[in-house]
Symmetry: C2
Subunit: 142 residues, 2 copies
Amino acid sequence: MSTQKHIQEIRTFNRFYTDLIGLLDKHLLNSDYSLAEARILYEIFTAKELSASDIIYRLSIDKGYLSRILKKFEKEALIARKPSADDARVSLLSLTDAGLEVFNGLNEASEKQIMALISTMSVKQLDALIGHMKAITGLLGK
Amino acid sequence: MSTQKHIQEIRTFNRFYTDLIGLLDKHLLNSDYSLAEARILYEIFTAKELSASDIIYRLSIDKGYLSRILKKFEKEALIARKPSADDARVSLLSLTDAGLEVFNGLNEASEKQIMALISTMSVKQLDALIGHMKAITGLLGK
DNA sequence: AATATTAGTTGACAAAGTCAACCAAATTAT
DNA sequence: ATAATTTGGTTGACTTTGTCAACTAATATT
């Protein structure tokens, strides 16, 4: 692959996901949740039960910030905290039914944003994007 | 495609790009530029010459915020403003050599972040991701 | 020529995120 | 066992990021 072409692919890819971020930010703005909040809900959903520290580790988020977001989530009844049997300092977090509903709503909205973005791209651009992902995969020997 | 599988793909995809956003945010944090700033540089790079209004239109960014960022860019000599011949209210923006250098640096750093993320994914996950993009493309009749 | 629109700047503010100090529980060293 | 250190989490004070409305100057509309 020529360097020139490679640079072009990087730009295509960067362009794609920065646009995606823009769209995502916008749709989250219309929702009542920030990107950080959406990511936190995702972590809790995926793990079923985890501690605040786990989230800090996975998302590299500030613990003070997280603490406040979790407080808000609890107030909105999106999450439940159960004291850990192993460690009295720790609360185990899980999504409530309301939390799951919010999480699903955010995911569905994301999907729409992705489709909206992809629909603005040409077949050529899409191919370039997929090709670039594959190229990276190849570079990594997978 | 079964609904269950479809939901799973959406989640894979959402997960991928929200993680990407997290990484991107972090690397931008280590740089001296915010995501908004990176996107603005991208626009100016792509268009060669455009007005602040063009950027507002393309990125749906607040004009007050943009105004301040452009002021900062000008102070750092990343951009040049040339009065438009057509409209005396408008300045046409372009990247300086310094601005181009910053833009290239940000792009390169992004690439590293993408590779870092992809390297954590399994072949199966990557296939799912690419498959999902293709599926969306197919749904859109491309 | 009067009126309305548009491009861009600025001030005041709100939201997002960071940092350091702190408390309580757990772990390690002595 | 207990003193010293580390870890999980909360809070207050702060910075950065982003929004909104008011304003000026130039352009477009009637």
